[in-house]
């Protein structure tokens, strides 16, 4: 057995700008997305959806559809063999509407046919008779009105009572704020392929965020044990929360089992807008109390979220909205009520920022109002009240981890400002752009600051876990190969890169192979809550550490010594007494090593009747400073620059962190100035990329980034999540900047041109 005494210290992969392994196939157009799948004998599916937000279904006649040549199955509510309903938190949403429809776009039937055109024709041939009913679209009315569903209208009311609830401040500011309904608008439409299996079950290839929770909902509705429903992650074209809920999964599996053939479905863009949940619209009343010196005394808030027709994750979203309602500030006394209610609007659920975004618009507008009332600089006011480690939140929880709130604020405002407005500013860089409408003399520049925070991982006592498997063996070339198997959904965020970085860091020079994410391994939870670096990254780290223990034991056996004097160093086992070294290939010559683990974070607790408890694992903090140019006459805004300081714990891959920050800021800017699902009596008026605008390369600002790296105790490598904070306070900073430029109150996001032009 050869051994080496030459030690070559490899540079660590952790903290390096490692390139994503799927980058090459993605730029070649060779990466396989869910919409690129096919199977022999495949059928094509189409969903029939209700055109009405609220109606009684009088009758459904599928005879016309069945008569279309090439139609293989038509399914309605009576064809669901198991649970008629599904849902993330509460199973209150029908697979197909039976006697009543509760939102425009609710599925009523699904068709499988030999080709897409026939499926579309057959769906159109289904004769549904509706008795159209008046929709309840005002969440205030729903809160006090008759039940729209047997489970009632209040998905959750979370009351937070903290400190002396009747405390008053010397200075009081009050406001009412609104945020519109934002869409995730991922580029790859919902799609999947269901294949019936010989065991009577079904195999589903699907673009999703959480394979196992999809599987459990599908199995319940199919009336099958979960082990007969096998899901494999197909290529995902973005998610941002919009794939956490079931869309076409159950329909596809039902059709595959009914026809005995593979069935594929791809949503069109308008169907995608109708077929997934959105960010909750919010109405928020706030009253802040402070001392004359500028210390916050109390925050009162009432946050009303429109959850739409079905529960989805409304309960968890409103918990976040209430918990983070005061913003990242020391608030000794609080009276906060969060409500999520049912209406006949489209269902709302997860979107990047998950409740923390909506309240940030309100608490940051309040902080600016308070600064004015106090005659204080808004940056100083925020710094004075900024949370620190050891401070207590309004939920009673003491922050034990890092809390660099002052640091992120100082970093955001320290960035150099862009050049001042001048006649040299090209037309394309002015508000209105190619319209060439803006004279520089008329433009007004504004600056705004906003600060936000949010929890990482799942909260309120949820058993948050990730299962991981590792197989170490010698590959065909004789070099070590580490095969990692987790059910983690790669949705674009770059987890696939982190797996390689972590496995290399822990095991040394190995080829890392990431097995297909599927339900053949235990759950990885959702790719949401900025949690997969901590949770799945932590699971990969843990299983590699376990394997190292086995490798050391095996080396001891080969050397005929005990493991006591052996250490793992730089990808090799070192016998300290003799300085002998044994590398991975030598150890693995004796056969593969297989390890598995289930990684968990510290247990959190539920919130009590006063909204008190250690409900959250850890917190991410962020600040944004926005610079805008406004054309007051036309109400047009150009966001010139967004500078940010973000608390990341530790950046494991700074290039990917940069991508998350720039992308999240663009979504925040979108919500601030252009993105809203326009509803009229429950009807979606803009389900297309022509009418629902997302930022283009010209709309997206320059971004200046400072990462605040204070390693978080208990987190793998000290890394917090990074995905959501960029989307939290970027939008509120833009609103603050537009207020600065115009002097208008602008209590509602997004700011539309007429909000400025008609009130200026």
């Amino acid at each position: 057995m050869g051994s080496s005494t030459v030690a070559v210290r490899r540079p660590s992969d952790i903290g390096a700008d490692i390139r994503r392994p799927d980058g090459v196939p993605k730029v070649q157009g060779a990466f396989v997305y869910s919409s690129d799948l096919s199977a022999e004998g495949m059928l094509f599916a189409k969903t029939l959806r209700s055109p009405h937000p609220h109606a009684r279904i009088v009758s459904v006649d599928v005879a016309g559809a069945l008569a279309v040549p090439g139609v293989r199955a038509v399914l309605t509510a009576s064809d669901v063999p198991g649970s008629p309903t599904f849902g993330l938190e509460h199973r209150d949403q029908p697979v197909f509407a039976g006697d009543v429809v509760r939102y425009q776009g609710e599925p009523v039937a699904a068709v499988a046919a030999d080709d897409p055109a026939t499926a579309v024709a057959a769906a159109a041939a289904i004769d549904v008779t509706y008795e159209v009913l008046e929709p309840v679209v005002d969440p205030e009315a729903a809160l006090v009105g008759p039940a729209l569903h047997p489970d009632g209208n209040v998905f959750r009311h979370l009351a937070i009572r903290h400190g002396t609830t009747d405390a008053c401040g010397e200075v009081v500011v009050e406001g009412i704020y609104e945020v519109g309904m934002q869409d995730q608008a991922f580029m790859g439409p919902e799609s999947g392929l269901a294949v019936p299996a010989d065991d009577g079950g079904v195999r589903l290839h699907i673009a999703t965020q959480w394979l196992h929770v999809d599987r459990d909902q599908i199995a319940a509705c199919l009336g099958l044990p979960p082990e007969l429903v096998h899901l494999t992650l197909a290529g995902v074209g973005g998610a941002f929360g919009g794939r956490e809920d079931v869309s076409l999964q159950i329909h596809l599996c039902l059709l595959a089992l009914r026809t005995g053939r593979p069935v594929k479905m791809v949503y069109s863009r308008d169907e995608s807008f109708l077929g997934h949940v959105h960010r909750h619209p919010a109405r928020m009343w706030y009253r802040h109390h402070a001392t004359r010196a500028g210390d916050l005394v109390k925050v009162e808030a009432r946050v009303l979220l429109d959850g739409g027709a079905y529960a989805s994750s409304s309960g968890a979203v409103v918990a976040n909205a209430a918990c983070f309602a005061p913003g990242p500030y020391r608030v000794p006394n609080a009276v906060i009520d969060g409500y999520a209610v049912r209406t006949h609007n489209p269902p709302c659920g997860a979107m990047r920022g998950f409740g923390a975004v909506q309240v940030c618009f309100a608490h940051e507008a309040q902080m600016d109002k308070l600064a004015v009332a106090l005659g204080m600089d808004p940056v100083e006011l925020r710094l004075r009240n900024a949370l620190r480690t050891g401070d207590r939140l309004v939920t009673g929880q003491v922050i034990t981890g890092t809390a660099p709130v002052a640091e992120v604020i100082r970093a955001a405002v320290a960035h150099p400002l862009p050049p001042s407005l001048s006649d040299k500013l090209p037309m394309m860089a002015r508000p209105g752009g190619a319209g060439m409408t803006a004279d520089v003399a008329d433009l007004r520049r504004g600056l705004g600051l906003a600060v936000g925070f949010k929890n990482i991982c799942f909260s309120e006592g949820f058993d948050d876990s990730v299962a991981a498997r590792l197989r170490l063996e010698l590959g065909a070339s004789g070099s070590p190969v580490a095969t990692v198997h987790v059910a983690t959904a790669e949705v674009g965020q770059g987890f696939v890169t982190l797996v390689e970085q972590i496995a290399s860091e822990e095991l040394g020079l190995v080829d890392v192979v990431l097995a297909d994410a599927d339900t053949g391994v235990g759950s990885a939870g959702s790719t949401s809550a900025s949690r997969q670096t901590w949770m799945s990254g932590g699971a990969v780290k843990q299983v590699c550490e376990q394997a190292r223990g086995v490798l050391v034991e095996r080396a001891a056996g080969l050397w005929g010594c005990t493991a006591a004097g052996l250490v793992w160093s730089d990808g090799e086992v070192v016998r300290e007494a003799t300085a002998q070294r044994m590398d991975l290939a030598e150890i693995l010559a004796g056969g593969p090593v297989e390890e598995r683990c289930v990684h968990r974070h510290r247990q959190t607790t539920p919130l009590d009747a006063d909204g008190q408890g250690d409900a959250h694992l850890s917190f991410m903090f962020v600040a944004h400073r926005a610079v805008v140019d406004v054309d007051p006459g036309l109400g047009l805004v150009r966001v010139v620059q967004v500078a940010t300081g973000q608390d990341v714990g530790r950046a494991l891959n700074p290039l990917q962190v940069t991508g998350q920050i720039e992308g999240g800021i663009a979504q925040g800017v979108g919500l601030a100035v252009m993105e809203e699902i326009v509803l009229d009596g429950g009807q979606v008026r803009n389900p297309s990329f022509t009418d629902y605008l997302i930022p283009t390369a010209l709309d997206s600002p320059d971004v200046a980034i400072t990462l605040i790296e204070e390693p978080e105790p208990g987190a793998p490598y000290g890394a917090k999540g990074v995905g959501e904070p960029p989307a939290i306070s970027s939008g509120p900073a833009v609103l603050a900047a537009i207020r600065d430029a115009t002097g208008l109150e602008l209590p509602r996001a997004p700011v539309r041109p007429d909000d400025i032009a008609l009130r200026a």
């Binding site: 980058g23 090459v24 157009g29 990466f31 080709d115 055109a117 024709a121 439409p189 674009g492 990329f689």
Partner: protein
């Protein structure tokens, strides 16, 4: 029955430049509202330098549908069906078009270039290389469209300013990146090409 899906289509067509390939039997194409599809006579498209026969396509089929579903060129993506997002960008006689808004039959006689045609055999173009290196790829669904649009931009305006670049790429939507790393990739290619020419 196998539960492993394949990429479409089942049979890979032969790819001999300048030679008609084996017919690929097209699926009946999708009509927008369910009217009976009108199948046109077989026709030929020149795609990435290869003459391809299209058999059984509907007269109203978009170039996007024919590229993906009949010719098996899945690098071109569909995401909006109305020319807003650029995911389906291809070159038609050297100009960028949204293939979802071009009738496939209108492309007869023109040269169609897709992302596959802009990918050197076994490697990456400088644009593709820069997108990977600069972090311009996240979910990647928009990326093939960007590869095509950037190729067009740098072919016609190699000296484009950053603002020109942003304007030129504003027909391609990306929801993941906020465009910063994509712009950086374009600037990198411009610098590299200028250095190579210099």
């Amino acid at each position: 029955m196998s539960s492993q899906p394949d990429r479409m289509p089942q049979q890979a067509p032969s790819e001999t430049p300048g030679q008609p390939s084996t017919d690929v039997s097209g699926r009946a194409a999708s009509g927008p509202t369910g009217e009976a599809p009108v199948v046109v006579a077989p026709y030929e498209l020149s795609v990435n330098g290869v003459v391809r026969r299209v058999v059984g396509a509907w007269v109203g089929d978009s170039l996007l549908n024919v590229l993906r579903d009949d010719l098996g060129l899945l690098g071109t993506k569909g995401a909006c069906e109305q020319g807003e997002c650029g995911s389906c960008s291809v070159l038609l006689d050297g100009s960028v078009v949204c293939s979802c808004c071009v009738l496939a039959v209108d492309a007869v006689g023109a040269e169609v270039t897709t992302v596959e045609g802009l990918t050197p055999p076994g490697g990456l173009s400088d644009i593709q290389q820069a997108l990977v290196a600069a972090g311009g790829v996240q979910c990647g669904f928009c990326t093939p469209g960007f590869v095509v649009a950037i190729h067009d931009l740098l072919s016609t305006r190699p000296d484009a300013t950053e603002l020109d670049v942003r304007e030129a790429l504003s027909g391609n939507l990306c929801r993941c990146t906020g465009y910063g790393r994509i712009i950086e990739a374009v600037r990198t290619v411009q610098r590299e090409r200028e250095a190579a020419d210099g």
